[in-house]
Symmetry: C2
Subunit: 157 residues, 2 copies
């Protein structure tokens, strides 16, 4: 059970964009150099965040990405699911209904209890990530972090 | 983020073995036919459960697998981690320490807060599965289930 490597990228890029002044943007090239990441693949991930409504993309000479909503309304779950999708890790293929031990369809009207418990665990994971916003993350950084982030990003042309 | 298909297999096989009379066993061939699963690959998964101390393997003409400890002490987490391993889905590769925005090593003595929150979510998932035992699963089955399971398994030679 693995999340894509790009999960770390988008979490850090979103936290970085959340530190910019209101309306300011950063380009894919800037973010790629900031974290030494492959720009073409990073661009694809950032587009996924735009599609999910978490980032806004501005075109033109001063184009780039910015956070699209209040950072207190963007959760880690939204960021992670924007790039990895929402399908749960456990797939129930109803093996209880196949083979020599197959249960009758009328005995399978309810979700298999094993699938239910696996779904409960996934909801616990989702609930944990839904309870953390970008605002929470920023609040845990040193007070000097945003100024440093802006300065370093601005130095990348 | 996906669990292997065999996760469903081992959960159901463990729940099936938990319904046998004390000391009774079922072979790989019986379990494979019971759920219509590929026996060689199922055998590999059952061996992983033995290695994890959840099942015991008996050799000889009446050989097969049986539950190795009280079913109130076998959790879904143990079964899932026996076949999928214990490594968490999120990998922190410390991108905060690379690129033009790299933080100094002395600023990275603590775990990255994003990695911490991802680890919290994984622990929530683990905690949920650790809270469900095979005894809980059996308690949720119809009272007629164990007798039916034994009868069906015994019919497979």
């Amino acid at each position: 059970m693995k999340l894509p490597v790009s999960t770390e990228w988008v979490l850090h890029c979103a936290a970085t964009l959340a530190q910019l002044e209101s309306g300011a943007t950063a380009s894919t090239a800037q973010l790629a150099q900031y974290f030494d990441l492959p720009a073409p693949y990073l661009a694809k991930q950032l587009k996924a965040l735009v599609k999910a409504g978490l980032l806004a993309a501005a075109t033109g000479p001063r184009g780039g990405f910015r956070i699209a909503r209040p950072i207190s309304e963007i959760t880690l779950l939204q960021i992670v699911e924007a790039v990895d999708g929402t399908s749960p890790p456990y797939e129930c293929r109803e093996i209880r209904q196949q083979g020599r031990g197959a249960l009758a369809p009328e005995d399978c009207r309810q979700t298999c209890v094993l699938a239910q418990r696996m779904a409960d665990a996934h909801e616990a994971w989702r609930g944990s990530l839904a309870g953390v916003t970008l605002a929470d993350i920023l609040a845990s950084l040193p007070p000097t972090a945003p100024a440093r982030t802006r300065r370093r990003l601005a130095g990348i042309t």
